[in-house]
């Protein structure tokens, strides 16, 4: 049976879709069968970031309503054999998702895939709660700034209350993925520091993705950053995060630690 991961944040624009694509491609490169599922009905983007927007024929809503079979809606990635996308419908809204339909789809996907990664829409409404409902674990995407941290805190509360796992009295595994981290700005105090975020959210960290133009470049060419430029700093951070998701223990490096060490040395010299 596959593992269901929800990538969620509460706040929009923090990097849920980018992270879903990057983690999906990273896990698929380990030769595991991965499907990334777009839950953002009406505002879908995952197809763009995956470079599959021209190949969408059927979507999740078609499957729920019985207009298409699940395998017809799944799009195989052209670069990675083991990576699939289940797109959202762009012409509908979140009300087109039914709890029974989502439950059935997730149940079917679990039979065929090792990882089912659900890209949650922003907000705490129907789309977001349905995306998290069947998850085994959650990746909470957060930017190092106060509004994102507070929204993530709210989402963590919902993960502990509104998911099937929580309702069965089990513990939902939650991981923090800190994205758009800018070491120089954090150093200057323009951004929350990693410790501050961890102190507020108190869930384990699975990765820090540095702010980088590589991410934007990858999105624009329609490739997950872990495929477009696997040697770039954000890609390496996503690869490590994927390994931690798969259960490996790796030490986490805070981007810019080296630079700040050099900074300290130079600082001392100057003084």
């Amino acid at each position: 049976m596959g593992k269901v991961i929800v990538v969620t944040s509460g706040k929009g624009g923090v990097g849920k879709t980018t992270s879903t694509a990057a983690l999906g491609a990273a896990l698929a490169q380990r030769n595991e069968k991965v499907v990334v599922v777009d839950f953002d009905v009406g505002l879908r983007n995952l197809d763009l970031v995956m470079g599959a927007e021209r190949r969408v024929v059927y979507d999740m809503v078609n499957v729920i309503q019985g207009d298409a079979k699940l395998p017809q809606a799944l799009i195989r990635d052209k670069r990675l054999e083991t990576l699939f996308l289940l797109p959202a419908s762009q012409t509908r809204d979140k009300d087109a998702l039914t709890p029974e339909g989502v439950e059935w789809i997730v149940g079917e996907l679990k039979k065929y895939f090792d990882w089912i990664i659900c890209d949650s829409p922003a907000g705490i409404e129907r789309g977001a709660t349905l995306a998290m409902r069947h998850a085994d674990m959650a990746v909470v995407v957060t930017n190092p700034e106060v509004s994102s941290v507070r929204d993530s805190d709210r989402i963590i509360g919902l993960l502990d209350a509104k998911t099937l796992k929580a309702e069965r009295g089990e513990r939902m595994e939650k991981h923090l993925l800190l994205t758009r981290y800018d070491a120089t700005r954090a150093e200057r105090g323009d951004m929350l520091k990693v410790d501050d975020v961890l102190d507020i959210l108190s869930i384990p960290l699975i990765g820090i993705i540095p702010e980088s133009t590589d991410v934007l470049k990858a999105s624009n060419v329609g490739a997950p950053v872990t495929l477009a430029d696997a040697r770039s700093a954000p890609a390496l951070a996503y690869f490590d995060a994927a390994r931690r998701l798969a259960g490996e223990t790796l030490p986490i490096t805070i981007p810019g630690d080296k630079r700040s060490l050099l900074g300290k040395i130079f600082g001392r010299k100057a003084a």
């Binding site: 507070r150 929204d151 805190d153 709210r154 509360g157 502990d160 102190d199 507020i200 108190s202």
Partner: protein
Amino acid sequence: MTKVLTDAPTIRIKGRSFLAVVLSPDLPLDEWLVRLDDLAARSAGFFLGRPVVLDVTDLAIDKLQLADLVGELGQRNVRIMGIEGARPSMLGPGMPPLLKGGRPVSEMEQPPTEAAPTEPKQHPKKATAQEAGSQPQSIVINEPIRSGQSVIFPEGDVTVVGSVASGAEIIAGGSVHIYGALRGRVMAGSVGNSGARIFCRKMEAELLAIDGIYQMAEDMAPALRGQAVQLWLEGDMIMAETLS
């Protein structure tokens, strides 16, 4: 160090709970009103001087019919203090306010009758008064309280082993103990207990209240920020001191 946290006169806001009779009409309304008249005839003044709440949950009536019903009840000297289970759109100005969060209590005494024509809404639950003795007087929460969550425990003390996030709230009848950072809001002694206190390991609160005396983050002494603090009430002042 002890500091008076406020100089400005404060406004006292408190929570109280009252016992109300709940009427749950059923359709057709005219027949129900006849049965109500029958009850009133057998025990004059049953509703006199009692707060009455109208429960219209699952009752298929519209705004006009609801207004008519309230009018009809008014003519029978049944004053409706609130309406439960109505959609906000059904209640305009001039209508009683919407009530939420009602809890069932023991049977209300009723005029003796064979057929019990109208009943105040009840659920087969035990009397709260009897249970009160066995109910816990404090709760301990071993997890952080997240933004948007609220813990309401009018029965006594609340202890949190963890932090209280910005945008979370705790309302306790007794004292509140936080073994972590307090970034949200805490209301202690909410049912009129001026002896209640608030303790926290790291003070970053948005709002604090003891027995209805409120204190916003902006009015707090900056020296207390980030400190382990206890707060209590002296008269109308919230006092605070750091815990060493």
